[in-house]
């Protein structure tokens, strides 16, 4: 046998032989209980041997129970550290994997409308789809990009520009404390209108406009509830008499989502010089409203987007107004009738005070000799006057 080849010949066998030590270690480590084999072959009559066996098995069982309790205690002791490890592992791995993103939810545009509509959003919301080419109003030709599939296509840029202008109008009206009325009375527009009114702090109308609510408001809206608020929107008391007598209010801006069905409203607004904002489809007359937003007024998604942008603008305006009010900046003027009421009330109060004073003067209760200089002095000045300048106790 060649010695130098020994390793090559037998090394493979030696290495491939199953290592006995690790496997036996594994067996020791395994948590499975090894079944205890108790010899039950008792010889009849051998009482002593039986008792010995019983005692042996009893001690054996007691040891097992002790071990089990120890194991349990050990497990309980390990629990917090294991839990910490688990949490750490969970934190480490929670960012793994892909996140399924839902691109489009129908009511997301109502719940969380954007502040500005991009061209893509306008197109996705079908704002560009006009009416059949035969039912167009030629006054809208400046908004029309072309025609496709027998309908007019409204230019997206024009929609975006007009929408931005209208949003600016709504924002400034809200900033100047104007009263905004939102009208959308087509089927399905109710949630859009209410949500937008909620955002912009405005009034809403999703049913039929009662004709005359502006031009004949004194009759139709008599007895409607009103309140007087200050610049921080807190209700003010003391105006009960005025509220009883004053005329119903007129909106300062009307936003109409479907001008075609609201001709009466828009006409009344024009008579009362109330500015209006409206979605003008290719079959509508753009001269009905003051600020046109060319766009599709049939699709709820399109209306929701446009109304949402306007609602957000109103929200911004209200926020700005309240923030400025906190710093004492008020950009709006008290309405003339309220101003007049306040002036009248003030003069009344002054007259009353004067009469009271004269009355008391006549009774001799008040010394009318006029104020003495000491009445106009502060405490320190009074002391200084009394004790001379040098005697004034220093403040510091």
């Amino acid at each position: 046998m060649i010695i130098r080849n020994f390793g090559l010949r037998h090394g493979r066998q030696a290495l491939s032989a199953p290592p006995s030590a690790p496997s036996s270690c594994l067996r020791l480590l395994s948590t499975q209980k090894t079944t205890t084999t108790t010899t039950t072959t008792a010889v009849a009559g051998n009482q002593e041997a039986m008792e010995q066996l019983a005692a042996l098995s009893a001690t054996h069982a007691a040891r097992e129970a002790r071990l089990a309790a120890k194991r349990q205690q050990h497990e309980i002791a390990e629990m917090p550290s294991k839990f910490k490890k688990f949490i750490a592992y969970q934190k480490q791995t929670e960012k793994l994997g892909s996140e399924v993103e839902r691109r489009y939810l129908p009511d997301e545009i109502i719940r969380n409308p954007p502040h500005d509509a991009s061209l893509e959003e306008l197109m996705a919301a079908q704002c560009h789809m006009g009416h059949h080419t035969s039912s167009w109003n030629p006054a809208n030709s400046r908004y029309i990009y072309g025609e496709r599939s027998d309908i007019h296509i409204i230019s997206l840029e024009v929609i975006a520009a007009h929408l931005r202008r209208a949003a600016r109008v709504v924002e400034e009206v809200a900033y100047h404390g104007g009263l905004i009325l939102l009208v959308g009375n087509r089927k399905g527009q109710m949630p859009i209108v209410t949500r937008m009114a909620e955002l912009a702090g405005a009034c809403h109308l999703f049913q039929k406009w009662t004709p005359g609510c502006i031009t004949n408001k004194d009759v139709l809206l008599a007895g409607g509830q009103l309140k007087i608020v200050n610049e921080r929107d807190e209700e003010l008391g003391g105006f009960e008499e005025h509220l009883r007598d004053c005329r119903p209010v007129t909106p300062d801006l009307v936003v109409c989502l479907n001008p075609l069905e609201n001709y009466t409203l828009l006409r009344e607004c024009a008579l009362a010089t109330v500015p209006t904002v409206g979605i003008v489809d290719t079959d509508a007359d753009p001269s009905w409203v003051t600020y046109q937003i060319p766009g599709n007024d049939d699709s709820l998604r399109s209306v929701a987007l446009i109304a949402g942008v306007l609602g957000r603008a109103g929200e911004r305006g209200q926020q700005r107004r309240l923030e400025d009010a906190k710093q004492g900046i008020v950009k709006w003027q008290t309405p003339r009738d309220v101003r007049g009421y306040i002036d009248k009330a003030n003069s009344l109060a002054a007259e009353e005070a004067k009469a009271e004073r004269e009355k008391r003067l006549a009774e001799g209760a008040v010394d009318e000799s006029g104020l003495k200089p000491a009445d106009l002095m502060t405490e320190d000045e009074f002391l200084a006057e009394m004790f001379g300048h040098g005697a004034a106790p220093s403040k510091y």
């Binding site: 129908p106 061209l119 197109m123 079908q126 560009h128 059949h132 599939s149 027998d150 975006a160 998604r301």
Partner: protein, 468 residues
């Protein structure tokens, strides 16, 4: 070619889905049988779809949002389990969106794609029923016959490789159409054709003269070339006289001028044509290798967008049995058994009508009690057989033709039936003995607290359930 610059909104609109909707196709021409009063049906599925079928997400569908001018009525669009629509008009004078269900063609497409068939060039006329029909035909996506981007000057050169021609396929025209075509399209171009012939004459003359000069060892330069003005008048009249006699040459010139689709005489000759075969001898010159010459060029891409598979040479993998030698056969409804008048039975495969093969195969054996031979009125739901569709092709009228193989391996049929729970194999036997559930309080409670609807079983549809 530089494209015209457009505004960002315009570019967006051009890329939008509404703008990418194709214009509707003309409706398929009705054949004589359909045109008669008795067999006409308004609701029958047309041979090919004319409108694009659209669908929408389920949550948008609940709002009626299909991406159109206005939300569609919920009552008619939300209840369908196959939400597919074809839009006839986005807006009309009546201020409505004109739409109809598009589920017929949408589902046909899905079912056809489930078959996994490649689209091939149309088989020779009359060979659809022969098993060996599949020998010569190839996928329509082969590079040498799917030539779409051709420069105008290369058109005559690539006539064997193209499928789109600006001129008509004369063999498919009715006499009236042909007369109309001559009067409206051809006659006004008489002078143009003269000029075209003149360039041909001048080119040929110059070619011949240059060759002669080279053969004689003389010099040849550009100044020696004759032009259309200097060509002798007698040569032109001689050429015209000669070309009138040679049909093949004339057809070649006319075909090149009008970009006519190539013609080929039918490969299946009947007895009468064999008897006077001399009539066809002149046609030999017309012969072309264009696969669409015999049946007419397709009106769309020859695949019609139905399938993009190039071959049927692939295997199915069964979840338990592994790769299968035979592809899964499909169940076909026997629409019309063989009669004395009609030798071929009509089968409905995945919504398309196909015909059986001729020759010696299992469906044509007289001994077999085949549902293809006799109509059984007692059979509920009609007779069905398993067939093996192998290839499909689209003819020039836009109709789909499925070629059926003659033989279905019984084992493959068994595997296919077993997959839908209809078989006697491993799973079928397992289903025969449903496990009797123990009737305890727990199971009873669970049974009656389940939701009211059990799905398809409520409607009497049972998937592979064995009735006891």
């Amino acid at each position: 070619m530089a494209s015209r610059s457009v505004s960002p909104g315009g570019a967006l609109l051009r890329a939008s889905r509404m703008f990418s909707m194709p214009a509707p196709l003309p409706p398929p021409a009705q054949d004589a049988a359909q045109a008669t009063f008795r067999s006409h049906s308004d609701t029958a599925t047309t041979a090919y779809p004319t409108h694009q079928v659209i669908t929408t997400f389920s949550h948008a569908r609940k709002e009626g949002d299909w991406g159109l001018k206005r939300p569609l009525p919920l009552r008619s669009t939300t209840k369908s389990s196959t939400p597919m629509l074809r839009i006839k008009a986005i807006d009309t004078i009546e201020q409505i969106t004109d739409y109809a269900s598009g589920a017929d063609h949408g589902l046909s497409l899905l079912k056809f794609q489930e078959l996994g068939l490649p689209i091939v060039t149309p088989p020779p006329r009359g060979a659809e029923h022969r098993a060996e029909a599949a020998v010569g035909i190839r996928s329509v996506f082969e590079d040498d016959i799917d030539c779409t981007d051709v420069a105008p000057k290369d058109r005559p050169k690539l006539v064997d490789r193209r499928w789109r021609f600006s001129g008509p396929w004369l063999a498919g025209m009715s006499p009236g159409d042909f007369k109309k075509y001559l009067a409206e399209k051809v006659r006004p171009r008489r002078h143009e054709f003269r000029a075209f012939l003149m360039t041909k004459i001048v080119r040929d003359l110059n070619e011949a003269r240059r060759e002669r000069a080279l053969n004689r060892g003389e010099t040849w330069d550009e100044s020696d070339e004759i032009t259309a003005e200097t060509v002798p008048g007698e040569i032109v009249s001689e050429f015209l006289r000669g070309v009138r006699q040679q049909n093949a040459t004339l057809f070649k010139l006319v075909g090149e001028f009008l970009d006519l689709a190539p013609l080929k005489r039918p490969s299946e000759l009947d007895i009468t044509s064999l008897a006077n075969s001399f009539r066809y001898q002149a046609d030999v010159a017309h012969d072309t290798r264009n696969p669409y010459a015999e049946n007419g060029p397709p009106s769309t891409h020859p695949s019609a967008g139905l399938s993009y598979i190039r071959t049927n040479g692939y295997m199915d993998n069964h979840p338990v049995y592994g790769p299968q030698k035979e592809r899964k056969p499909v169940e076909a409804r026997v629409l019309k058994p063989r009669t004395n008048q009609n030798y071929y039975a009509k089968l409905g495969i995945a919504g398309f009508v196909s015909e059986t093969l001729s020759g010696d195969n299992i469906h044509n054996q007289k001994s077999a009690k085949s549902p293809l031979r006799q109509f059984d009125p007692d059979l509920k739901g009609g007779a069905k057989i398993y067939v093996h569709p192998s290839l499909a092709s689209v003819d020039s009228a836009g109709k789909l033709l499925i070629l059926v193989r003659d033989f279905v391996d019984p084992e493959a049929e068994l595997v296919a039936r077993e997959l839908i729970g209809d078989g006697e194999g491993l799973f079928g036997q397992q289903q025969r003995q449903p496990v009797e559930e123990e009737l305890s309080q727990e199971t009873l409670r669970r049974k009656y607290s389940q939701k009211v609807s059990q799905g398809a079983e409520d409607y009497g549809i049972s998937f592979g359930k064995v009735d006891n």
